[in-house]
């Protein structure tokens, strides 16, 4: 089976106008404008198979959203080959547009002054959904998301979490094959984030919807995505399974120590990199194979009240990926 998305050497440069500071700079820029290229996406390639759930990770301005915008036809690429669902996205053919949805956590399509159901009905017409399918899908989605009672409430009266759920329903009422989620959990509380994740997983498993997700919350990616694409400065740093990335980069563990009385920080530096939050609380990152040995020494030689050995957090691993490559 051919991949649902294939991207080859995609580049997207933005032209940026540079201006020197001050009035003289302003006047100069009137006559002689200098432009430079901002390389939002700088030669990335990947393929995505039907039914995958993929996490896009990267800091702000890494090129995640730009990539999603190219894939959904909002942007023309500067160069490179892109094929999504067998179409060049930026031509924006109706057959293509009917098969996917892009849901952005910070942009909404719901009619602010009307109940959400009105937006759903409008989308039903826009996407040519039959009455039967509409009723069935609406029932199913509102059950999964638990919003039955709010369908007829004005959107502006809904809470942020409820609104995000309605956004999802509005985006899924035409049952897209492919779903792009840009920061779907932004601004939501922990409970709501969890519900959202459960829902995304369910959609992926039940409907075999291909999902590409960007998020700042590593938890989202960690729980949902089997495959992650790490992107920074417009380039792909890593593309593979989450467990591979952990194996590859997490070659240390963290020992946290609570002391009874202060000990000079320098004493511990032979074991690994020491971080100190206050004189009595220390954390040391130690090479995996030396952890047991170091712990023993610590307990014997120093006034240790409590000692903990932890895996490095996924956030730290990702940070390490970024630091190692840049």
């Amino acid at each position: 089976m051919s991949p649902i998305i294939s991207v080859r050497d995609l580049k997207k440069y933005y032209q940026i106008h540079e201006k020197e500071p001050g009035i003289s700079g302003t006047i100069k820029s009137l006559f002689n404008r200098k432009y430079s290229d901002a390389k939002a996406v700088d030669g990335i390639s990947f393929e995505i198979e039907e039914g995958e759930l993929i996490g896009f990770i990267g800091p702000n301005g890494a090129g995640k959203t730009t990539t999603l915008k190219v894939l959904s036809g909002l942007l023309h690429p500067t160069s490179g080959d892109v094929e999504v669902l067998g179409h060049k996205p930026w031509i924006r053919r109706n057959e293509f547009l009917k098969q996917f949805a892009l849901i952005m956590g910070q942009k909404n399509q719901l009619w602010w002054d009307l109940p959400a159901i009105e937006t759903f009905l409008l989308n039903k017409e826009v996407y040519d959904v039959s009455d039967l399918d509409f009723d069935k899908r609406l029932k199913e989605l509102s059950r999964l998301l638990d919003v039955d009672d709010f369908l007829t409430v004005q959107v502006k009266k809904l809470s942020l979490g409820q609104r995000m759920k309605m956004e999802l329903i509005a985006g899924l009422i035409h049952e897209p094959k492919l779903l792009f989620l840009d920061e779907p959990t932004i601004g939501l509380d922990v409970v709501m984030q969890k519900k959202m994740r459960d829902f995304i997983r369910e959609i992926n498993e039940l409907k075999k919807t291909t999902v590409i997700l960007t998020s700042h919350y590593m938890q989202d990616v960690k729980e949902l995505a089997k495959r992650v694409i790490v992107i920074d400065h417009g380039k792909i740093l890593f593309d593979g399974s989450l467990s591979t990335i952990i194996k590859k980069f997490a070659n240390t563990k963290v020992i946290t120590v609570v002391l009874e009385k202060p000990v000079p920080k320098a004493d511990f530096s032979e074991f690994g990199i020491v971080k100190e939050s206050d004189p009595l609380n220390l954390s040391i990152s130690v090479k995996r194979e030396k952890v047991a040995q170091v712990a023993e020494v610590l307990l014997k030689k120093y006034p240790v009240e409590d000692l903990n050995i932890e895996e490095v957090g996924i956030e730290d691993i990702i940070r390490e990926v970024f630091e190692a490559k840049s």
Partner: protein, 250 residues
């Protein structure tokens, strides 16, 4: 809900006051027994009241929101859907006009009951249907012009001001302030070649029966040609704007 109702009522009061103002100005200017600029009192009052009715049909529009869409980046939401963007706005325009027209008719009825102004009633069915058709062309023309003005949004965030100035200027050329044929002949002939007279002045003249059949068809042709030219222009600018829209990363 109260805020809605209140702003709604205030809006209609404003429109109604405007109607009264225009009416009383011309009612006091026009002599009762002779003509002014070739218009009898009856014809002139019909003309100025007609401009008010046409305001609610031709000039009521939602196209200014296109610029807001572009500036806020909400345009993306539309671009993602299998949806004709201009068709969508034309549909919204029509619904806006329907609402406006419904209220205007009610207000005009009230106005008639109170003041019973002397008005000219056209009874010739052919002229009436040509009048309706010219209104339809005017609606299309104003829609395309409105969309074009909103395209400014791709290049500037200041859309409201240029749009406002533009409409103030063209209100002179559309005949919204006075009938254009009281102007010197050469100037008037020139204005006839521009699209603006076909928004207001021309349909009203057709209604008043002051244009010959040949001139009616000439006028309809000119406004049709303008619709074609401006629509083509709109598509060119729109496609240019879309690449620009993307480049700004909104």
């Amino acid at each position: 809900m109260t805020t809605y109702r209140l702003s709604f009522v205030m809006w209609r009061i404003r429109v109604f006051l405007q109607l009264l103002t225009v009416y009383f100005i011309w009612a006091s200017v026009m002599p009762t027994d002779s003509t002014l600029f070739g218009y009898s009192r009856e014809l002139m009052l019909t003309y100025v009241l007609g401009t008010q009715l046409i305001n609610s049909i031709v000039f009521s529009s939602r196209t200014q929101e296109i610029a807001e869409n572009i500036n806020s980046g909400d345009l993306s939401i539309f671009l993602l859907k299998p949806l004709g963007y201009f068709k969508y706005w034309f549909a919204r325009d029509l619904s806006d006009k329907t609402m406006n027209l419904a209220f205007s008719v009610v207000e005009l009825v009230i106005f008639f009951l109170i003041l019973s102004p002397p008005l000219f009633v056209q009874t010739n069915m052919m002229l009436l249907s040509l009048f309706v058709f010219s209104i339809f062309l005017a609606v299309l023309l104003n829609f395309v012009i409105g969309c074009l003005m909103s395209m400014i949004g791709f290049w500037s965030s200041e859309v409201w001001a240029p749009r406002f100035v533009f409409y103030v200027i063209i209100s002179f050329f559309t005949g919204g302030l006075f009938p254009l044929d009281i102007l010197p002949k050469p100037l008037f002939n020139f204005l006839e070649l521009l699209p603006f007279t076909y928004l207001q002045f021309f349909p009203l003249k057709v209604y008043l029966g002051q244009v010959g059949v040949a001139d009616i068809f000439k006028g309809l042709t000119i406004s049709g040609i303008w619709i074609g030219i401006l629509y083509t222009g709109l598509y060119v600018v729109w496609n240019k704007g879309l690449t620009k829209f993307s480049a700004a990363g909104r």
